[in-house]
């Protein structure tokens, strides 16, 4: 936000509002509390890094944010929609329209071309063929892979694959990009390149939530929250809520 624009202009809207979100797993009669009463608000245009030791609930939180999983209790409002009331099909639509995932394992379909991979979310959205293909080409061009349209993911390097995954995440122009350790499988240079792309996206207004172990990676984010045993123990650098 530029200085002096505080009066008269609405503060950025909330993309995410979590209220007392808990997620517990029952494993062999024991209850594992993966998330415990997490409250979190993320505003449009934020770049938020989630840090924390292994098993602290980072992935669980990401799954809930991405509507791949449902909380055991609590309220989750994503881009104005109270997600808790939605059925499976409606959640699929939310994942398709409002969320773009970037995974540590890239998770591209190995037998499809990279063009088809980027088209996939638009295919499930019912975007007409020509439009879909045009947009996918455009997205791949922006990340510099326009010469590789017909290649399979296996013919690409890790960094290139992750760029394809980012293009795919952007396909339906989602409100939110979720990246769970996107640089975890990449060497430092390639990782830095991926981070630059994410930063660039953020500069252009995209809301990004990123999980990382790496303080250097986290330092690119405007806001860092720390999870320990399923609780938020620190929340630094964010726009005051």
């Amino acid at each position: 936000m530029p200085e002096g624009a505080s009066e008269g202009v609405a503060t950025p809207k909330e993309v995410i509002r979590l209220e007392k979100i808990s997620r517990q797993y029952v494993v062999g009669g024991n209850v594992v509390q993966a998330l415990e009463e997490v409250d979190l608000v993320i505003k449009e245009g934020e770049f938020l890094a989630i840090m924390g030791p292994s098993g602290s609930g980072k992935s669980t939180l990401m799954h809930i944010l991405g509507c791949l999983d449902r909380p055991t209790s609590g309220r989750y409002v994503l881009d104005g929609v109270d997600v808790g009331r939605l059925n499976d099909n409606q959640l699929a639509v939310i994942r398709n329209q409002k969320v773009g995932f970037v995974f540590q394992q890239f998770n591209l379909l190995p037998r499809e071309t990279i063009l088809a991979n980027v088209e996939l979310p638009m295919m499930y959205a019912g975007v007409p063929r020509r439009e879909r293909s045009e947009r996918a080409r455009q997205l791949l061009k922006e990340i510099g892979l326009e010469n590789r349209l017909a290649h399979r993911p296996t013919e690409l390097s890790g960094g290139q694959r992750q760029r394809v995954a980012i293009a795919r995440a952007l396909a339906n122009a989602p409100a939110l990009i979720l990246a769970d350790e996107p640089t975890g499988n990449l060497d430092t240079n390639t990782g830095a390149e991926i981070l630059r792309i994410l930063e660039d996206l953020n500069r252009r207004g995209r809301t990004i939530v990123l999980v990382t172990h790496d303080p250097n990676v986290a330092s690119h984010a405007g806001r860092v929250i720390r999870l320990v045993d399923g609780r938020i123990v620190a929340d630094e650098g964010g726009v005051a809520a």
């Binding site: 799954h63 991405g66 791949l68 999983d69 499976d88 099909n89 699929a92 639509v93 994942r95 398709n96 329209q97 995932f101 995974f103 998770n107 591209l108 379909l109 037998r111 499809e112 996939l120 979310p121 295919m123 499930y124 959205a125 019912g126 795919r168 339906n172």
Partner: protein, 401 residues
């Protein structure tokens, strides 16, 4: 996601392991191939029988003395009647329009140095038109031939073409010998056109003499076959009963065998019908086995592609998108088997029909049946694996190795 896109995804899945795909649909291939093969063979036989019968006309009846094993294993006719009975058969059986008697013996015909085994048939001149047996060249026997008992002969098509290749047999002299009868010379006055194979035997291999000449030569009066014609094809079976009843009264039970072409047609029809039905049951079992093969390979495929399913779900695939993708894949799978079976069965039927000299007939319904059946098998046996796929939990699928 449109059907077209779902279909593309499904086809891609199929192409992954061609050998496994083929093996898994082998049951369907065999099932459909046997259905198609058997239906085609059945239809071919039926067509060939119908053709043979329509050569003679389905209103034609054959009446011949019943044979029984006599002393020393020789076949002995149960009764002997002479040619005059033909007239009685017409007079006493209102459903019969026409009747001719034939006398028969096996013999050999010699022209110059070539010899041929022939069936020598003594007939009255109305023989040719009772089942519209047309003359190719020359003429058939006439009333005057019969009245005068002249030594003329009319050749069946095959006899003429074998003994007179590329020559005109009309007016030529031929020698006939049969059994103990003295060899006798005849003048060829006509050649019949080809009738092909019929139920009453191979007409093309016969030669025809006036019945009176036949009797004078051989002394044989015993009728081999009466050929009758019913008022219409519709009453042919009833006419056969009528004649049977008449003959029983006149010469006793079971002395004659009365065959109507119509009855033969019906018998063949029902034999082919039961054959098709029972073999259809076997094919059905093969299809079930094939269906289980499809189900098995689909379950394996779902397992192997768990991660793909997770990715698709994360990107917004609904359960029904996944369901239809895998369901279509199963249908394509068994449809592939169905098409392979269709061509396989067709090929087998074509081979068998060539060997059996009948036409290859593949009823269009059989093709639709094969395609419909294999799709249905794919649908039925694909539902369970597809539901398994659709129900997968996205998070667990995404972390599946």
């Amino acid at each position: 996601m449109s059907i077209r896109e779902t279909a593309k995804a499904a086809l891609r899945g199929l192409g992954l392991y061609p050998l496994r795909t083929f093996l898994s649909v082998l049951g369907i291939v065999i099932g459909v191939a046997s259905v198609i093969g058997l239906v085609a063979i059945g239809a071919g036989v039926q067509k060939s029988v119908t053709n043979q019968i329509s050569q003679l006309g389905s209103d034609v009846l054959l009446v011949s003395p019943a044979m029984q094993r006599g002393l020393f294993g020789r076949s002995v006719a149960q009764t002997t009647v002479d040619t005059s009975m033909a007239k009685d058969l017409v007079e006493h059986n209102p459903l019969i329009r026409q009747a001719v008697a034939t006398l028969q013996t096996q013999g050999t015909m010699t022209v110059d140095n070539s010899t041929l085994d022939v069936t020598v048939v003594g007939v009255t001149p109305d023989y040719a038109d009772i089942f519209s047996y047309p003359v190719e060249t020359g003429r058939f026997l006439r009333a005057s031939d019969q009245d005068l008992g002249v030594d003329v002969v009319v050749l069946g098509a095959e006899v003429a073409s074998t003994l007179f290749p590329g020559e005109n047999p009309l007016g030529r002299k031929v020698q006939l010998s049969a059994g103990n009868y003295p060899t006798r010379s005849f003048i060829v006055v006509g050649v019949m056109s080809s009738l092909g194979r019929t139920f009453a035997g191979n007409f093309d291999g016969q030669v025809y003499l006036p019945a009176s000449t036949f009797f004078r030569w051989t002394g044989q009066r015993r009728v081999s076959t009466f050929i009758l014609r019913a008022r219409s094809s519709d009453v042919a079976v009833d006419a056969a009963d009528q004649v049977d009843f008449y003959l029983t009264r006149r010469v006793g039970a079971n002395k004659f065998r009365v065959e109507s072409q119509q009855a033969i047609l019906q018998t063949i029809g029902s034999v082919v019908g039961t054959l098709t039905l029972s073999l259809g049951a076997i094919a059905g079992i093969a299809l079930v086995v094939g269906g289980i093969g499809v189900m098995n390979v689909m379950l394996v495929s779902v397992k192997e592609r768990t991660r793909e399913i997770g990715i698709r779900k994360a990107l917004g695939a609904k359960n029904r998108n996944i369901l239809s993708q895998f369901l279509l894949e199963a249908i394509f799978l068994s449809l592939t088997g169905g098409l392979l079976g269709l061509f396989g069965g067709w090929g087998v039927a074509a081979l068998v029909s060539r060997w059996g000299h009948w036409p290859t007939v593949l009823p269009i319904q059989a093709i639709f049946l094969a395609i419909g059946f294999s799709s249905a098998v794919g649908l039925f046996f694909g539902i369970y694996p597809a539901m398994q796929a659709a129900r997968l939990d996205p998070i667990a699928s995404l972390s599946y190795e």
